[in-house]
């Protein structure tokens, strides 16, 4: 399996048990961080801990003190006031050397989807959003956390995405465009766990569709074949045309 990025820096990847974020909805929402950094080496004691909240062109950064002395900002300073909707916000946590190699990241956790008030992680494969699409029913865009399917807001709330007609007509194309974005455009590799495709692949595509090994990022033709195979497998497994027939109740060819 091709590995595009190698970690030569001894940077430690923090697990969700070691670094996680919970949201408290409100206007604005606020957050709490769970940090368990005792496994880091003693040399990291003076390293500073930063939490970054981000979505599109908005980013907020919070200083949590040092590894040896974590000091979260007071609640009034942990407000996500720059963001319109807390559900859009992702987090990353960095442990940064500020002494002998200032700026060197010693440990981090990236693309953290915060836990909501019901303790439910927001881990849907795609997210949905109402949009003005000037006559089109749907479109798709991507951010750091993966695909966002846009649905024309005049049609109804974005829960149109749960409609069986829509599922039948759009889901295979959503899958195709998401895979093209990750593998062709972003040129991410299967082992790149900083990219949203990693959780798609390990949490969904491989367990559910049992696809073959992802071709090398330089072999565009093979990648496109692999993507088409994924879409075909999706169709065989979930039978979107059958879903359509079930709600439409007629066979067009008859």
């Amino acid at each position: 399996m091709p590995i595009k990025r190698l970690n030569f820096t001894n940077r430690v990847k923090l697990t969700r048990e070691q670094a996680n974020v919970s949201i408290h909805p409100g206007d604005p929402a606020s957050f709490d961080a769970v940090l368990e950094l005792s496994h880091l080496p003693a040399s990291a004691a003076t390293a500073r801990v930063f939490i970054e909240a981000y979505h599109r062109a908005t980013r907020m950064r919070f200083d949590y003190g040092t590894v040896a002395s974590l000091t979260p900002p007071p609640p009034a300073h942990r407000l996500l006031k720059e963001f319109d909707d807390w559900k859009d916000v992702s987090f990353r946590i960095k442990v940064t050397n500020v002494t002998d190699a200032p700026g060197l990241i010693l440990a981090w956790a990236n693309s953290i989807q915060p836990k909501g008030p019901d303790d439910q992680p927001h881990n849907d494969l795609v997210r949905w959003r109402d949009a003005e699409l000037d006559g089109r029913l749907w479109d798709i865009e991507f951010d750091e956390s993966g695909p966002v399917v846009l649905v024309e807001k005049q049609v109804g709330h974005s829960n149109v995405g749960q409609d069986a007609h829509f599922i039948a007509a759009a889901y295979p194309e959503i899958l195709r465009r998401s895979l093209e974005k990750a593998l062709i455009h972003d040129r991410t590799a299967a082992g790149d766990d900083d990219h949203w495709f990693y959780s798609w692949n390990t949490g969904y595509l491989q367990p559910t569709l049992k696809l073959g090994e992802i071709p090398d990022a330089n072999d565009q033709d093979a990648l496109r074949d692999w993507i088409e195979e994924a879409v075909v497998s999706f169709g065989r497994k979930f039978r979107p045309a059958d879903s359509w027939l079930k709600v439409a109740g007629v066979k067009g060819a008859d």
Binding site: T9, R11, R56, A57, R59, R61, G103, I105, L133, D194
Partner: protein, 245 residues
């Protein structure tokens, strides 16, 4: 002048004007649209602002607009395409100045009317973008000078390339570094600060950000991490300027 916003019909009328201007059907800027009650609406919070006769660059415009908002104790609607289209027409001599023969080249509609269907390209708007950039870096606006130093009607490819990379444009340290490298001691874009430079810079920063926490680093320190030959020229020029200071 009381600032207003276009309604849907107003945006269409403005778009029609841009189309006619492009094809040479008109050369007259339809300023009457700005107050036409059938095409415009008041802002939810009234804002009065006198447009300066000259706006030296994108930074001057952004500071002027932020000041107008502060004076009215309100923020401008960052996502309101009707407002930004109206303001583009109100400042048309700044965003689309006439040449010596009176001709104007408006460019793509997206420079004047935000394309609300494509948020990734909203940065193409000639007014919303500098306002947004100053808002993002309002704690230290000078660090965003690299994308605010040009005239309003010529943002330049470097600005476009940096704007297109959110991991850079939202990162205080990355913007400080870009300004350190691309803006000289006189506050002018340095020679070589091109779109090509920005593409290489963007790729390099994306790679370095996995190892280095750029926001905590002084630009003169993070600049030392740039080893590619095409970047080194800019680093050396910037370090030379810093040494002279």
């Amino acid at each position: 002048m009381q600032l207003r916003r276009f309604n849907e019909s107003g945006i269409k009328a403005f778009a029609n004007f841009l189309g006619e201007l492009r094809t040479g059907l008109t050369t007259v800027v339809p300023v009457d649209l700005l107050t036409d009650p059938s095409l415009t609406e008041q802002l939810s919070t009234p804002i009065e602002a006198e447009v300066p006769v000259s706006l030296a660059n994108r930074m001057a415009f952004a500071k002027w607009l932020h000041s107008a908002g502060d004076a009215s104790q309100t923020k401008f609607p960052r996502e309101d395409s009707g407002f930004w289209a109206w303001l583009s027409l109100a400042l048309f001599d700044h965003v689309c100045p006439a040449d010596e023969l009176g001709r104007r080249k408006p460019g793509a509609d997206a420079r004047h009317i935000i394309d609300i269907t494509d948020w990734k390209r909203r940065y193409r708007h000639l007014l919303q973008n500098p306002y947004e950039l100053l808002y993002l870096h309002r704690e230290a606006p000078e660090r965003a000078l690299v994308v605010l130093v040009n005239p309003l009607h010529v943002p330049g490819e470097l600005t476009e390339q940096i704007n297109g990379r959110q991991e850079i444009v939202t990162c205080p340290g990355c913007m400080s570094l870009a300004t350190f490298l691309c803006v000289d001691a006189k506050g002018q874009r340095r020679r070589g600060a091109s779109g090509q430079f920005a593409r290489l810079f963007g790729k390099t920063i994306a790679r370095l950000s996995r190892t280095w926490d750029i926001p905590v680093m002084h630009p003169a320190l993070s600049a030392q991490l740039l080893h590619k030959k095409k970047l080194r020229k800019m680093v050396e020029a910037a370090m030379g300027d810093a040494a002279e200071k």
